[in-house]
Symmetry: C2
Subunit: 284 residues, 2 copies
Amino acid sequence: MMERINNMNDMQLLSRNIRNKGKTIGFVPTMGFLHQGHLSLISKAKAENDTCIVSVFVNPTQFGPHEDFSAYPRDLERDAGLAENAGADVIFCPTGAEIYPEDYRTFVEVTELSAILCGQNRPAHFRGVTTIVAILFNIVMPDRAYFGQKDAQQAFIISRMVTDLKMNIEMKIVPTVREADGLAMSSRNSYLSSDQRKAATVLFRSLVHGRDLYRAGQTDPLILRQEMIRMIKAEQLAVIDYVELVDPDTFAAVGPQSTCYLALMAVRIGKTRLIDNLLFTPET
Amino acid sequence: MMERINNMNDMQLLSRNIRNKGKTIGFVPTMGFLHQGHLSLISKAKAENDTCIVSVFVNPTQFGPHEDFSAYPRDLERDAGLAENAGADVIFCPTGAEIYPEDYRTFVEVTELSAILCGQNRPAHFRGVTTIVAILFNIVMPDRAYFGQKDAQQAFIISRMVTDLKMNIEMKIVPTVREADGLAMSSRNSYLSSDQRKAATVLFRSLVHGRDLYRAGQTDPLILRQEMIRMIKAEQLAVIDYVELVDPDTFAAVGPQSTCYLALMAVRIGKTRLIDNLLFTPET
């Protein structure tokens, strides 16, 4: 029977008791409205640890002033059922007032990496993400934390934070889960109309197109990028935020001697901003 | 026999073992060149915990580009002897290369509170302090951490960070230790020439003067501040950085309804910048 905890002191106490018994904690932080992507994180966390803790918290500090914080989809009852079925032992749902009291002042920031790619159009976004993740790590005290490869830049930045601040936590990055037509699972997919839903496949289609060209011998990143951009622009409902190729180990711009690229993109379909990414490696 | 640890992984492992045995850790982070102020923190940490861990690390990120990082006094052998005599079980001396590798990017910042008082003349100082303290907390994993009231703003900002990030650590703020003539103990006192050393007593003298006036019924913060400034200006070798009165619970400017003031000052004696503070409360 999954336990539900709404209070951070209760959560911290429970985690401490679990750790004191020598049991391990796998942690899946989420903003709720769970989909198959989240459930794969939960299953993996449960398989690799004694206890699986899932948090549901729509974090205000990672939304910009004109973004979808209040509209972000929420359904805690559904989330609780899905999390329990996937193997969660505890679902932790703190309140905004408890996490961010009025005199709250502290932020954790990973410089440089938070200003590129998604950070260009969402300037305070990653600062909000690293701050809430640091807070949740201090409350939940996990041995291992699970994040999706779909949010590649987020996973990279959080890994940097964990390393830099010497947090004793193992980061686990789990492959993207996709719909049958390739669209990466995302809570924001629920915003899409039927026409937009069809158009949204252009993210994954263009990524696969780029990888196909790469595997056929086209290794010039400028050409690969142009080819992906061309395909996205052919989709009338799609507006590009960015399309970039970076070194997957550093997120730096790729150079001529690179042998492996991470292609990342953010594309707007109507008012919905979607992201996706794919590693370009030689066929194995 | 005190243990010496230079490697952060060894330190983290030892701390985890101590915690797993149900023993408590009291932690005293220092920049070394220990004086009686540090030793009172160490004695208290030892008295209140099973294990007392002292770190010695001159933290580069809290020094400005034109400050005294390279000149800061260092004497690790002397520190080790003093720490052991005061009750330390472990002295932890990490290297700069280990704490801040080349690709280091993460900073912890307490906004607003880091920009006032000492933050005005030392813009990145408190960001450096909160960052290194967060790192050391993650390595040492203390139950309680000990800081001196002499660095009142630092203690207040770190307490804010601990609360905001939900760190499960009890902050202990320990009274300032003073020389016989009132000068607050500080590693930087070693910079002072004989004449400067005499002039340096003006910080405490002016604070006591302000408190005397307060206790004699003068509660107007503007007048109290002017009186302290007047006394400091009478000392030829002293140059004021700031003299301020704040609410000790919030560090906000004091208003007419305040009943208790914290007076803080930074004063330069030659090239040496000294700080001190005193709580103005009704006589008890």
